[in-house]
């Protein structure tokens, strides 16, 4: 074979990175807007992989699965900042309404904090790749779905048909739900006249069911945790009289109120505590493996230097240097956030913030790895709570670090998800890590920039969410609701009135630590997550687990690999794509004056 016939195999290529960057920037800007309007963010990996497939393989005729993996890694790495910023920053902006021009707003520290979070999230989670992807073998259902998509050119027609069938079913179901023809929840309990504190409802989501299918037996503790919480603990609490209503409350309102109290005042905060305790115990128990992995990183880096080749992963020196740089940025962000913050407090904020950020990142990566569901909002609340107490009630500093934590935790989950995809398609982890690390500053800047543009949006028919934006002054449909910001604002106000569930956090954390002794990795995080989430999600996910287990028992492992995985991947991909298209059409329609 002559040398001229051998083409290089594109992986970390200019084309792949450029395409990923463009997609990432566009997705960040549009997802910030969508999240302000609708209240939830979207993951970018699936969409980027599909668009990359079309652009790289279809248009540019570049046949490289691993190059598309880099493209989706870059795109989702940039876009992941949007959810982190949108959840936290608008709350701080809304709390500054005494000065709607935001003239004193600490923009510099904000950008420093956001980039520090983005960088730190990546460098802190990279050393855990071996632990989570290779040793624990967390499922990362969306990561598997993207890998299935990337590998589809080589999987043959039959698997392609299965993938497309799954996507078509998901698309159909999503549209039926969005058009209101199918309810968001199948509330069997309501039909059977069960009280709301004994719920039996299934969340109608193809992606959630698909994630359950992909997780199989591994996801079962999550579903069982939900069953214990709502079918055992909740009735016990009611029957024991632990949720007594006000003497004057109308009897018809009592069961609903009790269900709300059990969720918001009992199970949810306890679940957050279990997540924290479980993650802490997980870090301690996994320490030998992580230390071993770090040693092997060092050895591999040394060997690669000697041989003049590139190692599999970024070297500990690069990771350590980046971590130190982000810590300094976090300190500067805290110090310059407010005149009330001195050097000592800023040092404490930076260190505690970094420690919490690392722990929260691990929790989110583990939860996403096991179930595809991220408890981001609860962890952001704890971050803001911690900082609120450290700074003696300084909201600006607290939210600024909350921004960093939110972005960092999103980055952790996204990086690990992409690394899982990379493992399945055979990408070099170093290339993925490098791409995401180098470009991690773009997302925060775009997301913050778009937020500021939308804050004071002056024109008629221009969307905005600040009180001085024309849309909100005139109360038109272009005034964006920013529901997540409202939620965090409510949390901050609760903190200011000392309403922090310290008892549940502590009790749950000890429970999480004790559960971690059980020889099933991550069980505390799974049970904690089940208590944290609405039961309808957990139950529908559990149905997926049981179906997968039944199919494996009846039809064998081969069926799972060849049929069920592409089908479940199709369900995830189909819902993500349909929901995105729906949101774009819906928000585009309202921009053009159609209203909602």
């Amino acid at each position: 074979m002559s040398a001229s016939t051998v083409r290089p195999y594109p992986e970390l290529s200019v084309v792949g990175v450029a395409l990923g960057t463009v997609q990432g920037v566009v997705m960040t800007a549009s997802f910030v807007y969508i999240a302000l309007k609708l209240g939830f963010g979207l993951g970018g990996s699936t969409v980027a992989a599909i668009l990359g497939f079309v652009a790289l393989r279809g248009v540019l005729r570049r046949k490289s699965i691993v190059e598309n993996n880099i493209n989706q890694t870059v795109a989702s790495g940039i876009n992941t900042a949007s959810s982190g910023v949108v959840f936290t920053l608008p709350a701080l902006m809304l709390l500054s309404v005494s000065d709607p021009t935001l003239s004193d707003f600490p923009v510099g520290p904000l950008i420093f904090s956001a980039i520090a979070g983005s960088l730190m999230g990546i460098v802190l989670i990279i050393p855990l790749r071996k632990q989570m992807v290779e040793f624990e073998r967390l499922k990362f259902p969306s990561g598997v779905a993207v890998a299935t998509l990337l590998k589809s050119p080589g999987e043959g027609v039959s698997q392609g048909v299965i993938l497309v069938s799954g996507a078509a079913i998901a698309a159909g179901l999503t549209l039926l739900v969005n058009f209101g023809l199918v309810p968001e929840e199948l509330d069997v309990g309501h039909v059977a006249s069960l009280p709301p504190w004994l719920p039996f409802a299934l969340y109608i989501s193809a992606a959630n069911f698909g994630a359950g299918l992909l997780s199989g037996r591994g996801g079962l503790p999550f579903a069982l945790g939900g069953v214990l919480a709502w079918w055992v603990i909740s009735p016990i609490a009611v029957q024991m009289g632990w949720v007594p209503p006000h003497a004057a409350m109308p009897p018809a309102e009592v069961p609903g109120w009790q269900a709300g109290e059990i969720y918001s005042q009992m199970l949810r905060p306890l679940g957050i505590g279990m997540l924290i305790g479980g993650a802490l115990a997980g870090v301690v128990s996994a320490f030998p493996a992580v230390a071993g992995a770090m040693k092997s990183l060092q050895a591999a880096a040394k060997l690669a230097r000697e041989q003049g080749s590139s190692p599999d992963e970024l070297s500990p020196t690069v990771l350590g240097g980046s971590a130190a740089a982000s810590l300094v940025m976090l300190f500067l962000a805290a110090y310059f956030s407010s005149d009330d913050v001195g050097v000592g407090t800023a040092v404490i904020i930076a260190i505690v913030g970094a420690l919490w950020l690392a722990l929260a990142g691990i929790i989110v990566a583990q939860a996403t790895g096991a179930t595809d569901i991220s408890p981001l909002s609860g962890l952001a609340l704890i971050a803001v709570t911690l900082m609120f107490f450290i700074t003696g009630g300084n909201v600006t500093a607290a939210v600024l670090i909350g921004v960093a934590v939110c972005i960092a935790t999103s980055q952790c989950a996204d990086m690990m998800q992409d690394l899982k995809t990379g493992h399945l398609v055979g990408s070099k982890p170093r290339e993925q890590q490098l791409a995401q690390l180098i470009l991690c500053w773009i997302g925060p800047i775009i997301a913050i920039g778009v937020l500021f543009l939308l804050w004071n949006a002056p024109g008629d028919g221009t969307p905005g969410f600040g009180p001085q934006s024309t849309a909100c002054l005139e109360q038109t449909q272009f005034c964006l609701a920013a529901p997540q910001a409202g939620a965090l604002q409510g949390m901050i106000e609760a903190l200011q009135s000392s309403d922090a569930a310290v008892d549940k956090y502590l009790g749950g954390a000890v429970m999480g630590g004790a559960l971690s002794i059980f020889p099933i990795g991550g069980i505390a995080v799974l049970v904690g997550l089940a208590m944290y989430l609405p039961f309808s999600i957990t139950l529908a996910y559990g149905v997926g687990n049981v179906v997968a287990m039944g199919l494996e028992r009846g039809l064998g492992r081969d069926f799972i690999g060849r049929k069920l995985v592409p089908f479940a991947a199709g369900l995830i991909v189909g819902e993500a794509l349909t929901q995105l298209t729906w949101n774009v059409v819906q928000t585009g329609g309202s921009l053009l004056g159609g209203g909602q």
Binding site: K151, A291, P519
Partner: protein, 292 residues
């Protein structure tokens, strides 16, 4: 047996610890009851606010509700669905507040003010007080639950250790890492040989199928059984050989991707790297076994 008992204790422990751990202290419970009362009053207040805004809107449109007679008001309600909906909403909210005990001659806003006052009088407990109150109402049960969890988890670990000892003695179901590795290396070498002459852009479906089969028949069962290996060697020992094993697995996946993309050279390189990684895994395993 120990495993089942452990599991039952663990589940029981979760239920007991979570149920008691989720309890709230008395003052917190009273505060939440009072909050429900405030929420009911606040709802009426919000509905009345909406009504006031609608009145202003109608006034700006030339309709002064205050100046209308009852008949005119009713007639307007027929014509203006906004007004009818608002009146119905207000009636419903006030009826609901009456169910809460508001008397007919009471003003909803006064009622709300009293409810707020009652809540403020109870007050939210400070974090330290909240912690103490929580422990006093649920602490014993919560601790008992934690104890059950710990006993259950320890029993499950003991069972795992016994299973592993059984495995070491040659019981069926034991993960035989060296044998699986040897099988892997043989198969990877065969796949490597089969694509020795493969040219760029040439398809190799047989090689890809062979990789798929290797995954399904050898690598996946090994990955599934890794719990036994962790129990046998501890996490640190396990990491020593499972890291290289995973690197080998990843490079086999890379070969699959490269073959799909028609890059025979990269596929061959990846399989070479995989073979070296599996060899390193084998050596690592032997070293860990030798250390006992």
């Amino acid at each position: 047996m120990k495993g089942y008992v452990g599991l039952v204790l663990l589940v029981l422990g979760i239920v007991v610890a979570a149920a008691f751990g989720a309890r709230n202290g008395d003052r917190h419970v009273h505060y939440r009851q009072a909050s429900a009362q405030v929420a009911a009053g606040q709802h009426v207040s919000d509905v009345l606010d909406e009504g006031r805004k609608l009145n202003e809107t109608l006034k700006s449109e030339g309709v002064d509700l205050a100046a209308l007679s009852m008949e005119e008001h009713l007639a307007l309600m027929e014509k203006e669905p906004r007004l009818r909906q608002q009146v119905e909403k207000t009636d419903e909210a006030i009826t609901n507040l009456r169910k809460w005990g508001m008397t007919g001659d009471d003003n909803p806003l006064h009622w709300l003010a009293r409810a707020k006052q009652e809540r403020a009088h109870i007050g939210l407990p400070e974090p330290s007080e909240r912690l103490g109150a929580w422990f006093s109402v649920g602490g014993t049960g919560w601790l008992a639950g934690i104890l059950l969890i710990v006993i259950g988890a320890v029993l499950a670990r003991l069972q795992q250790r016994d299973d592993n000892a059984g495995g070491a003695a040659g019981t069926e179901g034991r993960v035989d890492f060296p044998r699986a590795l040897a099988e892997t290396r043989t198969r990877v070498a065969a796949i490597r040989a089969s694509i020795e002459e493969l040219k760029m852009d040439e398809d190799a479906p047989k090689a890809r199928n062979a990789i798929d089969q290797l995954g399904a028949e050898v690598l996946d069962p090994l990955v599934e059984g890794r719990g036994q290996l962790i129990a046998r060697h501890g996490l640190a020992g396990f990491a020593e050989y499972f890291g290289p094993f995973s690197a080998g697995e990843r490079n086999v996946n890379r070969a699959w991707s490269a073959l799909t993309d028609g890059h025979a050279v990269v596929a061959r390189e990846a399989l070479d790297v995989a073979l070296a990684a599996f060899e390193a895994a084998e050596k690592g395993y032997e070293a860990v076994e030798a250390r006992g």
